[in-house]
Structures are given as C-alpha cells and as structure tokens.
C-alpha cells in the first residue's frame, strides 16, 4: 500500500529511490495542479534542481531565463507583484551571492510572495569544489528582513516545507542539498510547522541541535551513545533557522545545560550563531560548541568524505558529544536563581 507524503501521491518506495530535489520537483508539480497562481523559474538548471518537472507539466507557467540569476530574481519579483507565487530554483551559491542583492531588494524589501529553493547548499556538491559549495548562505539570507529561512533534513521534510511555504506570507528560502543525502524520517507521519523545531530524540544530558544533512548523523549518534555510553542525548531538528524556535533552545539550556550545534555551513553566521544569539539573550550559563565548516573554504571531495572530514557525520558527532561531556562543567546550585 502506497503511503502518501503530505497528502500527495508519491510513495515511500519513491522516496527511497528519489533524491530530495526530485521529491520537491514532484511535490511542486502536484501542488501546481491545485494552485494556478504558482509559477516556476529556472536559470538553466531545470534538470539539476528538478524544477523542470513542473515545467514539463505546466510549460505556460515555467520560465527558463538562461544563465542569468540576477535577472531571474527580478523577473520573479515582477511576477509576484501581480499575485503569482513564483518558485525559483538555482544553486544556493547563486541565490545568496550572485543574486543576493536582487533577493534582498527586489523580493524581501517588498515582502513578495516568492519561494526560493536553493539546492546544492553547503558542501553537498563536494566534487564541484569551492565555487559551487555554499557555506555562507544562512548567514547572508537570514540577515534579510522579511525572509523566512528553512533547512529541511531530507526529502520528506523538503516536501513538507514546500507545501508549508505556499501559504506562508512573504518570501521563503528553502535550503536543500544536492539531494542524495540519506533519509532521516521513515515516513511522513510528523508535523511540520515553520518556526517550530522538532525533537527527534528526548534527552537530558546534552542537546544536539542540527539542521539539514547533519541531522541524520545526529540521530544515529544519539542512538549509539545511548546504547554504548549510557548518554541521554536530546536531538533537535532546527529546520527553521528564521524565525528560530527560541523556546526549544531556552528549554535545552535549562534542561541539559550543554548544547552542540551541527550544520553544513560556516560556523560564522549560520545555525550555530543563531542558537548562540538565543543563549546569549537568555543570560544563563551553558556549555556550548558549534560544529560546521571552521571559517575556511571547503576542499574538493566526495560529499561523504567531506562530511566526515568536518565531523558532520555520526562518527564525528559521537566524538564531539563525548568531548563536550568529558569536559568539566561547573555545576552551580543557585543557577536557577540567576537572572
């Protein structure tokens, strides 16, 4: 019996065979059937980003502007101004930097209903090298007022994010990988609410907060550490980077007093920074570590090797959790009384 994803008609079996990008291409095509106001744009990457699926089904509502990303976002703004809902897809590096100003000024400034699917984010396009890696987009894009920023963990969550974004007022940036990343969810029986983090594993000793591709390693690491080290590791899927779920972070500080973030992004400005901002605002002591790309340009390599290199796979996450748990952390009986 085929299970449906988000009420749509592709199956778990499909999800196993399909990349996150393919799933989103399918989802968008199906939503497009119900919503005539949806249009799609590509900059000669319709095949790579899978938005071409929409174009095959609805050629009148699909515009390939060629290799011209700045123009693409300006055109999307024009379409959105008249009430259409453009889904625009290209590689994250070109959204956030090549056309960053167009995204900011033409779309965010006007709070236009434009949805951006930024593919090949982080180091997911490993062998393509630094020019096609994008470890800066969260820092850049989340600083644009009016923008909502989502980093789904797998194809299921991408499908949910795409659906949720359709009726979300204003611009949305959905950051996915190349699409060959393993699944975190086994089915679509989970709630996805923009701005509401999901607890993937309960825990009381330490909280791991991750988004995007590293989430699968975080979940595996928590299971491993529970079994082998007797550690209770809370795993939070912070799929929405902005608006960030402050409550989930504050609760983690109070409950576990140790937080580690994992992200496929420079440690400057991304998930780790966003979490740190909340912790600092809270004013409560908390052991804290950010793991990501340590402010350097990432080298060429196969994605799995790169995730391992940057300790973003389960092995690296296990090491980091053990390291943080092994450090002395001064307990303070009066901690709850501090302001």
């Amino acid at each position: 019996m085929a299970e449906q994803v988000g009420g749509l008609t592709y199956t778990i079996l499909d999800a196993d065979k399909m990349t996150a990008a393919e799933i989103y291409g399918d989802v968008l095509t199906q939503i497009g059937g119900q919503r005539p106001e949806i249009v799609a744009l590509s900059a000669d990457l319709a095949k790579s980003t899978k938005i071409g699926k929409f174009g095959e089904k609805y050629p009148d509502r699909f515009f390939n502007v060629g290799i011209a990303e700045q123009n693409m976002f300006g055109v999307a703004a024009g379409l959105a101004l008249a009430g259409f809902v453009p889904f625009v897809s290209t590689f994250a590096v070109f959204v956030s930097m090549r056309a960053g100003e167009q995204v900011r000024t033409d779309i965010c400034y006007q709070k236009l209903n434009c949805k951006i699917i930024a593919t090949h984010s982080g180091i997911s396009f490993g062998q393509a090298g630094t020019t096609h890696h994008c470890t800066e987009d969260l820092a850049i894009i989340r600083s644009f007022a009016n923008m909502t920023v989502i980093a789904p963990a797998d194809g299921f969550e991408t499908a949910k994010a795409v659906q949720a974004s359709v009726d979300w007022k204003g611009p949305v940036y959905i950051r996915i990988g190349r699409g060959f990343e393993p699944r975190v969810y086994t089915d679509d029986k989970f709630d996805f609410t923009i701005g509401k983090a999901r607890e993937m594993r309960p825990g009381t000793d330490v909280t791991v907060i991750a988004c995007g591709t590293p989430l699968v390693g975080a979940v595996d690491a928590a299971d491993f550490l529970k079994k082998n080290d007797g550690l209770s590791v809370r795993v939070i899927n912070m799929h929405t980077i902005k608006p960030i779920d402050r409550e989930a972070i504050e609760k983690a500080v109070m409950d576990t007093r140790r937080i580690i973030t994992f992200e496929d992004h420079n440690v400057i400005g991304g998930l780790g920074s966003a979490v740190a901002e909340v912790i600092a605002d809270l004013g409560k002591g908390c052991a804290f570590k950010r793991v990501g790309i340590p402010d350097e340009f990432s080298p060429v390599g196969y994605p799995d090797d790169l995730y391992h290199h940057y300790k973003l796979d389960s092995e690296g996450i296990i090491d980091t959790v053990r390291e943080v748990m092994g450090k002395e952390f001064e307990e303070d009986e009066d901690w709850q009384d501090e302001f």
């Binding site: 509502r61 024009g78 167009q102």
Partner: protein
C-alpha cells in the same frame, strides 16, 4: 485634459509642455524641502515622464490600484523627485504629502518605495533592476491575458549594469512587446561623460541586436515624444520597444545644463529663485 481627447495637437503639446514646466518647478521646490535632490537627472527626464504619464499610459485618475492600469517602473530610482509629484498629480495621494520629502517617516526619499507611495508600482534605487522586474510584470500580463503595458525608465549610465543585459534578451526571447523601455540619454553619469567612463554607444544598434525595436529621438521635443508613443505596437506584439530619449542633464535650468556637478545638489533661496526664473525662460514657445 488627459490623454488622447478632442483637443488639437497643438493644444495637446502645449498642455504637456505646461505639465513639464510645472514638474520642473516642483523639482526645484522639493529639492529645497528635501535639502538636496538629483536635480540633473530629474530635470532631464521631466519631458519624458510627462509624455508617458499624461499621454501614453492607461490610468484611472485617483485609482492607483486599478488592475488593468499600465505599469511604470522608475528604474533610475534616483529620479524620485521628478516622479512623486506626477503620482500626486494623478490623484493617487494628496500633493500636501510631498512637503515631507526626506523627513523622518516621510513616504518620500531619494528613491521611491512602493510600500509607502500609492501609485508606485515598484521600489527602485539600486540601478539595473527595473527591466528584469518589467519582464516579470509583462509575463503576468501575458499569463492573465491582459493588454496593459509596462513602461520602464532607465538612466543611460544605468545600462552599464550587467543585469540590464540579462533582462534585454529575456524581453525579446519571451516576446514581450508589452514592454516599453526608455533610456534617459543625458550623456552624463555621476563621474562625468558616459562615453569617457564606460561607453554605451551605439545604443540603438546594441538593443536592436538584442531583438528590440528602437526609436532614437529628442527627449525634450514633446512632438517627437508624442509621435513616438503613437507608434507603439499593440501590447500583443512580440517585439519589445526601446525609446532612446536624447536629453540634456539639468534641462531647463541653464546654469545646470550639461554640468555633472548638479547631478545631486541642494539650492539656497537665491539659487532656487534663479532656477525658477530659468525654467520660465526656457519653456518651449506656446503653439496656441
């Protein structure tokens, strides 16, 4: 009077010249309130924007959100001082609002903001963006099977921007004859003559090579402007139109003309009075 009503051609041209003279006076007046303005480029585009708004565009007086209106994008957003008075005069908001120009919380600053200014179809200011947005708007007209046009006014220095040359082929590729782009060709950008800084000529040949229909005219000759706007193809046409409006930076105020130091400036009372006198003297001769 608005648009193509029963008046004679001479009456029409006098009416438009009157509007252009009024607009030039407004530019000087508002620059005093604002403590400075883009005078050179505002004065150079005055005849063009008057011809477009009071002759060519299909608008409803007092109704800035009418769905079937023609759209206008001031891609050279720094021309706001020559744009906002026109929107007020179209009845989109009270002209009194203009007296707040550049003040804290005013709807009006150096560059126009569509969220704050009724009748402004797109916020602009960062050069090079307008034509791409026009392509998107023109596509919506096609999708909705509407006949409205998109007018977009660019600066001449602005077409140095690479984004313009992404949008130009897109407009012809998507067969958007419902786009009318105009270049305010006043030959000077902030640092001096465009042809010395980064040459943009031959403009007409370049745009024709990108698949556009080009009219190359005197942008201060109201007769030429009206005749050219009369020649616009129906919006269903596949070929976008470019009007190269040859203009003079600072036009109408003789001490500002062709002098890049007046690109952006403030005026004291004496200079304002002098400028207003010039505008009266420089007005084209009446036909009727």
């Amino acid at each position: 009077m608005h648009k193509k009503d029963s008046k004679s051609r001479d009456q029409l041209l006098d009416y438009l010249d009157d509007k252009a003279e009024w607009l030039r006076r407004e530019i000087i007046r508002l620059s005093s309130i604002a403590g400075g303005a883009h005078l050179g480029g505002g004065l150079s585009m005055a005849d063009v924007i008057v011809a477009v708004y009071y002759y060519a565009m299909n608008l409803k007086q007092g109704d800035p959100t009418w769905a079937d209106r023609d759209r206008f994008i001031l891609s050279k957003g720094h021309g706001a001082v020559a744009y906002c008075p026109v929107l007020a005069d179209q009845g989109f908001f009270s002209p009194d609002w203009l007296n707040t120009f550049n003040n804290l919380d005013s709807p009006f600053g150096m560059h126009p903001d569509m969220k704050k200014i009724p009748g402004c179809d797109m916020s602009t200011g960062s050069l090079g963006h307008g034509l791409s947005v026009a392509v998107g708007m023109a596509l919506t007209a096609r999708l909705d099977k509407k006949s409205w046009r998109v007018f977009v006014l660019m600066g001449d220095g602005e077409i140095n921007e690479g984004m313009v040359w992404e949008a130009a082929p897109a407009a012809s590729h998507f067969k958007l004859g419902n786009i009318v782009a105009i270049i305010d060709r006043n030959t000077l950008s902030l640092d001096g003559p465009t042809e010395e800084i980064m040459a943009i000529e031959p403009i007409a040949k370049r745009w024709e090579a990108f698949g556009w229909r080009v009219f190359d005219i005197d942008g201060h000759d109201m007769g030429a402007l009206v005749d050219t706007l009369d020649k616009l193809p129906p919006s269903s046409d596949p070929t976008p139109t470019l009007i190269v409006a040859r203009t003079v930076k600072g036009k109408g105020v003789d001490f500002m003309e062709n002098n890049p130091i007046w690109h952006y400036a403030g005026l004291d009372k004496a200079k304002s009075a002098e400028a207003l006198t010039c505008i009266g003297n420089c007005r084209p001769k009446r036909r009727t």
